[in-house]
Amino acid sequence: MDEAKKRDFIGRISRALGREAIPDYVAPFDMSHGPQADMYDDLTQDQVVAMFKTECEKVGTHYIETTKDQLGQVLLDEIEKRGGGKVIYPNSDEVREYNLEELFAKEPADKATFIKWDASKGRDANINASQDAEIGITFPVMGIAETATVVQPSTEESGRSIGLLPITHIAVLHTDTIVPRMTQSMAALSEVYKEDPSSFPTNIVHISGPSNTADIELVRVVGVHGPINVTFILVD
């Protein structure tokens, strides 16, 4: 950063605000009395999950409920339902936890073939693999019930392209991570940041359904630049 430029730029702002310098301290804006502070306070986790599902239904996002034991099979069924083909998946803990690679290996190649995101292979290899894939699987870290949103960070193990370039995106969400509103999800992200700013994910995308547009005569068309199909698998 050009420090002189910055001083000049911010100095103009200070002067417009009627002062000579940036104040040393500004009392933070008090959000504790805002309407968001206690919304949905009385809901149980089951009710929060129910809200997530109702919202999915309202906006037409496809979801499937399952348990940890069934996840692998449910995933394979959904891949088949979405037409199979090349599937890209992250190199993440969840994949190992659910022994997904074992399952993937057993799947006949004419139904689906599986490619693992592997950052060590470099940029082009991973982006191209995602571009070639028909389906991308990710494991978002949180869900937001009010808007049926999943919160997806990108990491070395799970890149931005997986849930973006393929035509179908399957997101596997644990129901115990679903919070009522962005109030709670942002509070959680803020905690993560404060704990260690340097490990904060560089890209966190909130996804609430398939890509869409109404740019031509306001006719809603699903699938512009992002995935055309989205499935949320909710793991209890």
Partner: protein, 481 residues
């Protein structure tokens, strides 16, 4: 595009619009659709008014301490590895962008939607420098392909083009052979632009809110082009207005509650990206370099002054989705990339009364914009201030007209002091008009003159828009429209 893309007299622009009824009907349909959807959603939020109050206070708090928060933002963005550049003017901003492109030896860029990049004429400068520019938002792509046809709405900018026209443009310019079905045309564009996403050297994006606490930028999008531009190219350049900050992540919750509902009548956009620095070493996609250009370009003239509250604006478009004047003259009559009520306030602030002095008159001062504004900007009062300023301090109007404008301004002012409600304005107008006939002084008001010609309004009746809307609906059913 620069701020003003059509500098012909206001009357001429209005007349042009009136001659294109498809355009007018398209805007009216958009207003009706967005209005209905927004209304239904807002009714489901019992605390909507509290949210507006909180958001307005939050914006004011940020603006009052903008030096402090900008400094914090820049420090944290740098800590996260981003390059921050402060641009006092449009030229400084585009020069910096060009320098980055030169260093990267970039030949092709992709760009997601950003009004600010229009304001600073980024596309023109890039094209001049021989860069292959690709707008990727579907509407912007259509407008670019149609030889940079100007936008008519800030949320759905290509609404004035009917599908047959879009098909024709795609056919002539891109060799498209399909039908005029929107889905088929969208799929065509998906394929066409996907290739460019994969090969572009640099992705340009806007920034809805910068977060001071973390140095993050955020991008709200439905199509996914914001995600693409910030994920695939090796370099990302984000351009942010200096006022578009929030103090912390918690504030995003409040802003997002209001932004998307107000904008298109949806609870949330499909995508909302929070980007903090470039990709970390070891990550296999995302930008290796992230540049954030923070732009002033005249905003410090507004900050802390009588128009300060205009800087609260979050560009949702709700004010134009409700405005009875915009309904009849559409975005193109404003001749500015910032149209509608917000544009009528903002444009003269950025380019001066000499060039945009007619715009503050493009309003009935009914106050619906203020009532629908998620951050409670008293737009109608600011328009009135403009009128007073024009009458008192400028030579924009011939001297003889000054007293006329002054009377008009005071008339509106008094009625607003008497009662902030919009009916009061109507009463004020009636007092001048006596019988429903058009008073002489109103004929010199640019809008009144143009608007009167739009026959479906008849003589100017200053109903609240709700009434106008209800009447419109009724008449529509009767088949009068």
């Amino acid at each position: 595009m620069s701020i003003l893309y059509d500098e012909r007299p206001f009357h001429t622009r209005v007349k042009d619009v009136m001659d294109n009824q498809f355009k007018v009907k398209a805007i009216q349909k958009a207003q009706d659709v967005f209005y209905t959807k927004r209304k239904a959603l807002v009714e489901q939020v019992p605390a909507w008014e509290e949210f507006r109050t909180e958001a307005a206070a939050l914006r004011d708090h940020t603006l009052r301490n903008l030096d402090y928060y900008l400094n914090m933002f820049a420090e944290n963005a740098e800590k996260a590895g981003a390059h921050v550049f402060f641009a006092n003017s449009d030229k400084e901003a585009t020069d910096y962008a060009l320098e980055v492109l030169r260093q990267k030896e970039a030949k092709m860029i992709v760009k997601s939607k950003s009004l600010l990049t229009e304001e600073i004429s980024l596309n023109e400068e890039l094209i001049k420098a021989g860069i292959n520019v690709n707008e990727t938002d579907l509407a912007e792509f259509i407008l670019q392909t149609d030889d940079w046809n100007p936008p008519s709405h800030i949320v759905v900018p290509a609404l004035h083009l009917e599908r047959s026209k879009i098909r024709e443009v795609f056919h002539d310019k891109l060799g498209y052979e399909g039908t005029e079905n929107p889905e088929e045309m969208t799929r065509f564009v998906r394929k066409f632009i996907r290739k460019r996403f994969l090969t572009a050297n640099v992705g340009f994006t806007g920034c809805n809110f910068g977060v001071a606490e973390t140095g993050s930028i955020t991008i709200v999008s439905n199509e996914g082009n914001g995600r693409m531009s910030s994920s695939i190219p090796r370099t990302q350049i984000a351009v942010m207005g200096m006022e578009r900050l929030v103090p912390d992540l918690a504030s995003l919750d409040v802003m997002m509650e209001l932004l998307v509902r107000s904008s298109v009548g949806a609870k949330i956009s499909n995508y909302f990206s929070l980007i903090t620095g470039p990709a970390k070493p070891g990550e296999a996609d995302g930008p290796e370099d992230l540049h954030i250009i923070i732009v002033n370009n005249g905003r410090t003239n507004v900050l802390g002054g009588e128009f300060n509250s205009m800087l609260r604006c979050i560009h949702c478009g709700a004010c134009m989705n409700i405005c009875p004047v915009y309904r009849h003259i559409t975005g193109h009559a404003y001749g500015s990339i910032y149209p509608g009520p917000m544009g009528a306030v903002l444009t003269p602030l950025l380019v001066g009364y000499e060039k945009a002095g007619a715009l503050p008159y493009a309003s009935t001062l009914c106050g619906e914009c203020w009532e629908h504004c998620p951050v409670k900007i008293p737009i109608h009062e600011l328009l009135l201030k403009h009128r007073e300023n024009i009458a008192e301090h400028t030579n924009v109007r011939p001297a003889i007209e000054k007293p006329i404008f002054k009377t008009a301004a005071t008339m509106f002012a008094n009625s607003f002091l008497y009662d902030m409600g919009t009916k009061a304005a109507a009463v004020g107008m009636k007092a001048v008009a006596k019988d429903d006939a058009m008073p002489e002084w109103m004929k010199v008001l640019p809008v009144a003159g143009g608007w009167i010609k739009s026959k479906d309004m008849g003589t100017m009746k200053l109903h609240k828009f709700r009434d106008v809307y209800a009447k419109y609906e009724k008449n529509k059913k009767k088949g009068t429209f």
